[in-house]
Symmetry: C2
Subunit: 155 residues, 2 copies
Amino acid sequence: MKAEFVNPFIEATTNVLGTMAMVQPKVGKPFVKGAQASRGDLTGVIGMTGEKLTGTMALVFTEACAMAIASNMLGETYTSLVQDVIDCVGELTNMISGGARGKLGEQGYSFQMALPSMITGASHSVHHPANAPVLVIPFSIPEGDFFLEACFREN
Amino acid sequence: MKAEFVNPFIEATTNVLGTMAMVQPKVGKPFVKGAQASRGDLTGVIGMTGEKLTGTMALVFTEACAMAIASNMLGETYTSLVQDVIDCVGELTNMISGGARGKLGEQGYSFQMALPSMITGASHSVHHPANAPVLVIPFSIPEGDFFLEACFREN
């Protein structure tokens, strides 16, 4: 996985979380995912459809991590994955994919706008289509972990 | 929700399941989803990004239903949500969204190709962005239920 694909997602995530939630996540070592899936309790998934590449991006949060970030974003204290927390993750998924899209666009990879879907349910996993590499970037904040997964296939 | 939006998804689902899995699902009454989410154990989500409309489609399966359909598609007996079953749901999500895309295209709504993501995890729910109507079409086969959710926003 080339750095030119990885860095836009790292930068977009740290920028958006810093601006929206005043959170500076610790960035783990990115890796290409094997059969094993990241587990989370609240996930935002968004399509990234472009002229050269088509794929998806997922933001996979543990419950504690999602609640902490939403609490910071909205100035409320959340103790479960209520609609506001789900909407926050949708907004973050939108903004982070948008930020990455902007940076990838500067490298000649343009993508369409898209809408996210969010998934709730204890300890679910995201799977991507076969024959396309999946980039996983692990992030952590004191309250818990989250993962960014991005999967692209050449058109 | 206009019939011209609903019928392409019903037709694509019955056509694809009939052809690929020799299954004729019973079609329930479509409805516009409120706050409540459909619960499933294996979901395929795919973006539908177009010039006039942007949205997502999800196929939400109970475990028993997904295993029965995959068993029919691949001629194997499945007793858990192994990779083959997940891949089947990805393929069905692709083909059904493609079929609906074709029919919506005839009505002047064109959409880009996209890749699906699949979610596993007992009893998860799909949520769509606020301010966009979510169409839910319930289907059932003897082994269990599945739901098609489609959510669109005008560009």
